[in-house]
């Protein structure tokens, strides 16, 4: 029975050309569009990674030899250049900051100060650099005052430190800011799995379709039908996301790193949450098929927008200003899972994202089932 319902459900879904267009061809077209429209951003973004900074040329700065050395090292021209330094007087520095020519002003003194006009990635980089400098200075001073004998070993340890640019290396693959768009696109494709499961719920409920009434009148346990239908939707959507992934990797030469197993796991979890989302909208939201479809399309696109699909900085803004939303937005969790695979060597954050996706999926499935369990309808 399970196989019978599953195989016919696969046929039904696969022969629905409109759905196939939106769930498979549309993401492929969008990927191609992104590639050609935003492809040039990659090189520009790499240039942006050189953060322009003004340093006030005062007595304190001239005495801070270590600070000078660190800043000089970070602004040495070459592949690993992180900063572009302008050493100038206070008035000129403020002018540069006002004009947006520099991201911040470094002021040496008892403690090293940073003045910025706005918050953002470049400012965060500057802050991180200066924080680390302050930390090293503090630690070194502490160790030397408490245990002067350890000073030699400390110097050796410090010498061992890699350069700053090497310290933020990306798990063996070069950084590519375009990936943010492609991650969000994959998240969208995963959430579009919900279209399949919404169709399932419409074909299952007697108050939504005549087919639903006929199926409800049949002597088949509803849970069995729900599971077969859901598995069919999951199979198709996972296959579609794989096609998208292969197209991105092979056709558009987008590098996703080398952790294929984890990438597939992310896609599967993404599709699962997408299917559950469709089930939830299809069962819990009261209203006609049109209303449900409208809510589903609007909902998926909003979630993808918040995850950076249309404007990649949105994900950063949400993560910093409304972090809770980032934890309950499945699209953000999917993109973050990809990010964490790409950026971090540790899988801690990846598993957190996958865990949250599974939790969301379980929650949505539970709500859907509770709604479906009342198998008699108020009106048909």
């Amino acid at each position: 029975m399970f196989g019978h319902v599953f195989s016919y459900r696969l046929k039904c879904l696969l022969r629905n050309r409109e759905q196939v267009f939106w769930t498979l061809l549309f993401p492929l077209l969008l990927a191609t569009f992104f590639y050609f429209a935003f492809g040039h951003l990659t090189s520009e973004r790499e240039k942006f990674e050189t953060v322009k900074v003004a340093v006030i040329d005062n007595q304190a700065y001239r005495e801070e030899v270590h600070l000078q050395q660190m800043l000089a090292a970070l602004s040495t021209e070459g592949e690993g250049q992180m900063l572009e330094l302008t050493v100038t007087d206070e008035a000129e520095a403020e002018k540069l900051l006002e004009e947006g020519a520099v991201a911040g002003i470094v002021t040496a003194g008892e403690s090293v100060g940073l003045t910025v006009k706005q918050s953002g990635l470049k400012q965060s980089i500057l802050k991180a650099v200066l924080d680390e400098y302050a930390y090293i200075v503090r630690t070194t001073a502490g160790i030397i005052s408490e245990n002067p004998a350890a000073a030699r070993r400390l110097v050796k340890e410090l010498e061992k430190r890699p350069t700053y640019t090497e310290a933020v290396s990306f798990s063996g693959v070069p950084p590519d800011t375009m990936l943010a768009y492609f991650y969000a696109l994959i998240a969208m494709a995963c959430l579009y799995s919900s279209f399949w499961s919404l169709q399932n719920t419409i074909d299952l409920q007697a108050d939504l379709s005549a087919r639903g009434a006929r199926r409800s009148a049949a002597p088949t346990h509803k849970l069995k039908v729900v599971l077969s239908d859901t598995l069919a939707a999951l199979t198709i959507s996972f296959a579609e996301v794989l096609v998208l992934l292969v197209y991105l990797a092979v056709g558009l030469q987008v590098s996703f790193g080398n952790q294929v197993g984890y990438i597939l796991l992310t896609c599967l979890a993404g599709c699962l949450v997408g299917v559950s989302f469709g089930n939830l909208i299809g069962t819990v939201i009261r209203g006609s098929e049109g209303i449900k479809r409208g809510i589903l399309i609007g909902g998926s696109l909003t979630l993808c927008y918040l995850a950076g699909l249309m404007w990649v900085d949105m994900k950063y803004i949400i993560a910093t200003r409304v972090p809770l939303l980032a934890y309950i937005n499945p699209a953000a969790l999917i993109t973050d899972a990809f990010y964490s695979l790409y950026i971090f060597d540790s899988h801690h954050r990846f598993y957190l994202n996958i865990g949250l996706l599974c939790l969301l999926s379980a929650l949505m499935s539970l709500l859907s089932f509770l709604r479906l369990r009342g198998e008699r309808y108020g009106s048909i």
Partner: protein
């Protein structure tokens, strides 16, 4: 008793859709639920099938309470709905196989049943067609095949001929009779009194969610005090002559309009002869004469004061 519905009440907000509705169906019967649109026929069917919640009452099928989990009872039921309930993405053969597969697990047996259903509804030449390529009549036949392929003991047809051409309608009705001859019990809802009269061994007249009358066609007609109606085309009839006609034996009513005289009788055996004799004796010239037996519409009119098709 195959179906036993007792005191069923169903409300949609303030609207009382079923008002203490009763229905009893014996094995082998073809029972027709006759009533105008909105009289509660489909609501009653949906409650019987445990698809719809109801406020009060008791429903038993095959002697057991009907619930959504009554899989044993559901196994023996075939449903043909008013709206065509098939998948547009599946071919004719696949649709029948899919719905049959919800009842029959054995593939070999199912293959035979599907073929029988296809032959029964005459869709042999359209097996590979998608539903969208079928005409309205053929689509209805597919809808029927999907409901009966598993050979149920009880078949429920909810207005299966709405929007169907006369030829397909006759074919559908003949098919239902054949199924009944093969042993199936049939519940048939319709607002077409001719269909119900032609097909059903027993009729339940419904209106506003209530059972108004139950019986065979003859029993229902006997409920009203009306015999035949004789219609005569007359081009000129004086009011005095009409008044005299009203005084003829067994005449209950007579009216003349649009060159037609309609005379209603409450009985009598030679009404036509007596009327014609009278017209001749008065030198009233007439052309066409025809007699009408009372219809279920007359029964409905008598009981409710409204036409069945109001």
């Amino acid at each position: 008793m195959l179906i036993s519905v007792h005191n069923l009440v169903k409300r949609y907000g303030n609207l009382l859709a079923l008002n203490h509705f009763h229905l009893q169906v014996e094995r082998g019967e073809i029972v027709g639920l006759l009533g105008p649109n909105g009289s509660g026929k489909t609501t009653a069917i949906n409650c019987i099938l445990a698809l719809l919640k109801y406020d009060k009452g008791e429903i038993k099928l095959f002697g057991k309470p009907m619930t959504p989990q009554a899989y044993d009872s559901k196994q023996k039921i075939g449903l043909v709905m008013q709206n065509v309930a098939v998948f547009d993405e599946l071919r004719v053969e696949e649709n029948i196989d899919y719905f049959c597969g919800l009842y029959i697990r054995d593939r070999a047996r199912r293959r035979l049943l599907v073929q029988e259903a296809i032959d029964f509804v005459g869709l042999g030449d359209f097996c590979r067609f998608y539903p969208k390529k079928l005409s309205g009549g053929l689509l209805r036949r597919l809808n029927i095949a999907c409901g009966l392929a598993h050979k149920p003991e009880l078949l429920i047809f909810d207005e299966p001929t709405v929007g169907v051409d006369p030829q397909s309608r006759n074919s559908i009705l003949e098919g239902i009779r054949e199924l009944n001859r093969r042993g199936a019990t049939v519940v048939y809802t319709s607002h077409y009194m001719e269909e119900v009269e032609q097909l059903c061994s027993r009729i339940v007249i419904m209106d506003q969610g209530k059972t108004l009358a139950t019986g065979t066609t003859e029993e229902l007609k006997a409920l009203i005090n009306q015999g035949e109606t004789i219609n005569v085309e007359i081009y000129m009839l004086e009011p005095e002559q009409l008044a005299r006609i009203r005084q003829l034996p067994h005449v209950t009513r007579a009216h003349y309009a649009h060159d037609r005289l309609a005379v209603h009788y409450d009985g009598g055996e030679h009404n036509l002869l007596e009327l014609l004799d009278y017209l001749k004796s008065q030198d009233i010239s007439f052309s066409r004469v025809f007699s009408e037996q009372p219809t279920l519409n007359d029964v409905f009119l008598e009981i409710t004061g409204r036409q069945l098709r109001d």
